[in-house]
């Protein structure tokens, strides 16, 4: 609750502060201060087991240590993004304060999407998360690519909202017991699902798959991620996607958990398709930004394993996966933003010019591949263990491991470019890098390794 209130209030503060901030760098410090405040307030809520202000919610939001841990991870990752790329957000356009305000609103939406308990709050959370993002995607107003990305994202996003609402209406009407929006009270009946509930479930599934950009509804993701300003791509591909997943897993655990037998095969097919399409198309990309967009689809395939299984491993794993994937991708994007050339050739000879960037980029890439001793390995391990423990579709586990092997190809291509290729390009890269940036990168890489060795540092929080 603290996080929701503080991010919403701070978003408004940033929005109106834009009129009073004289210097362009002021909003960044305000945003960082607000985020630290939100993290402290959120941790305090975990300690004290109750929010600062008591608000009667009628059980519409549900704050467990699982949800609060997820929100903490999301806030910490955003803080890292602000610290690493604060200056790049300032470069996007003139309305710096508003960009930060919109990011705060997105965080508020993610917090609601992580804690919702009724279909109404699910809808509100997803919308509060999406609408500011449409604006952020199009924030580079003169750039045609950014415009296109915004329009495409907006049309696709609101299309999926329409499907989501239709699904909710059918779930409400098809309920076999008393009609209700509370996800824990939805009565699925016994045996085969009634027709209306089945239609509603499929609509909700399509809408959520749209939001997390899994196949077959992934087609918007590469274009949008490619067109948006790179800082916001970094935010979208990590934090927002994780928010979508936490909403997805919550919905299917609480609302449809009893009918798992019936929808599990659907999720299995979606997972396999996502893994295959994400990894295979990423292999052929020349631009690293676009490759990371496809790799985010591939990683979404791994996260879908948690929804496939929904057991203790899956719930621990999705938290771990959020942390591992967000840290590595934010770090990698932070390095990419500093490049003048976004193709893989742009990384040629990075080891000689910027050894710190090279070594941290390598750690992030190894984590995304899932090499042992990095966070990505633990996260993937938890996901695979969840699927194995479920024990129904073992072929999916084998398939996921094979796809992880494909992903090694395109991640290692960048590592190869960093260490074993000479920089031959005529453009002389200007490095705008401060010692603070390097220190932060090292801290991020350190976090990736620490989580990789002791995943319990995060998982213990779930049982606080």
């Amino acid at each position: 609750m603290n996080a929701i209130i503080l991010t919403a209030v701070w978003g408004i503060v940033m929005m109106f502060g834009g009129a009073f901030f004289k210097q362009k760098s002021t909003p960044k410090y305000w945003a960082i201060a607000g985020l630290i405040l939100a993290i402290i307030a959120n941790c305090a809520e975990v300690y004290m087991q109750k929010p600062m202000v008591a608000i009667e919610l009628k059980g519409m939001l549900d704050f467990t240590s699982f949800n609060l841990t997820f929100i903490t991870i999301v806030l910490v990752c955003t803080l890292l993004l602000f610290l690493l790329n604060g200056r790049d957000i300032e470069k996007v356009g003139n309305n710096v304060s508003e960009y930060f305000a919109l990011i705060f609103f997105v965080l508020c939406g993610v917090s609601i999407a992580a804690t919702y308990n009724t279909l109404l709050t699910l809808f509100l959370g997803i919308e509060i998360l999406s609408i500011p993002l449409y604006i952020l995607t199009g924030s580079d107003k003169r750039n045609l690519k950014s415009n296109e990305a915004a329009l495409k994202y907006f049309l696709m996003g609101s299309f999926s909202t329409g499907i989501l609402l239709m699904g909710i209406a059918f779930i409400y009407g098809g309920n076999t017991g008393t009609p209700t929006f509370y996800i824990n009270n939805i009565n699925l009946g016994t045996g085969k699902l009634p027709v209306m509930l089945a239609i509603g479930l499929v609509f909700l599934l399509i809408a959520m798959v749209f939001k997390v950009s899994a196949a077959p509804f992934h087609f918007w993701a590469p274009d949008v991620y490619d067109g948006a300003p790179t800082v916001f791509t970094s935010f979208m591909a990590t934090i927002v996607k994780a928010g979508g997943f936490i909403a997805f897993i919550r919905l299917f655990e609480h609302a449809f958990g009893t009918a798992q037998q019936q929808w599990q095969i659907l999720i299995a097919i979606i997972t396999a398709a996502t893994l295959l399409i994400g990894n295979l198309t990423a292999v052929f990309q020349q631009s690293v930004k676009r490759m990371l967009a496809y790799s985010s689809i591939a990683q979404a395939g791994f996260m879908l394993l948690a929804i496939f299984a929904i057991n203790q491993f899956a719930k621990e794993g999705i938290i771990l996966y959020t942390a591992a994937y967000s840290l590595a991708t934010i770090g990698l994007f932070a390095i990419l933003i500093k490049m003048s050339d976004y193709t893989i050739d742009g990384f040629n000879g990075l080891a000689k010019q910027q050894p710190v960037l090279a070594i941290t980029a390598t750690i992030f890439l190894l984590s995304l591949t899932g090499v042992p001793l990095t966070a990505g390995f633990q996260a993937k391990l938890f996901m695979l263990m969840a699927a194995v423990n479920d024990g129904r579709q073992i072929w999916l586990v084998v398939f996921a491991v094979l796809c992880a092997a494909i992903s090694a190809y395109y991640y290692f291509k960048i590592i190869q470019a960093i260490y074993f290729k000479e920089n031959t390009s005529a453009v002389n890269q200007q490095w705008d890098i401060t010692p603070a940036f390097k220190t932060l990168l090292i801290i991020t890489a350190g976090l990736v390794i620490i989580i990789g060795i002791w995943p319990s540092v995060i998982i213990d929080w779930l049982y606080y």
Partner: protein, 107 residues
Amino acid sequence: MPINYYIFLALALFCIGVVGVLTRRNAIIIFMCIELMLNAANLLLVAFSKLYTHVSTLPTAGSDAQIFVFFIMVVAAAEVSVGLAIIVMMYRNTHSVDVNFLNRLKN
């Protein structure tokens, strides 16, 4: 009137919306089709709400669906304001609202 009529009407509206989004090329018309989808959901919710008011003995039965409809309207209004701003921004740069323009990102 049986509830089936409302369900079929809402589904028909929804399908018109979906087909419109998938086939039309004008951004504004796509947008209107999306609104049609949202309103189909509204209609369905109100129909179910009315049904349960009749069926149930509770005086407040079904009222939550009607409140949901208000939320949908508010969110749709927020979406319209953002969406039209994006379309206007697009129009300023390309002097067209045709979504066939959206192919530049592919390569």
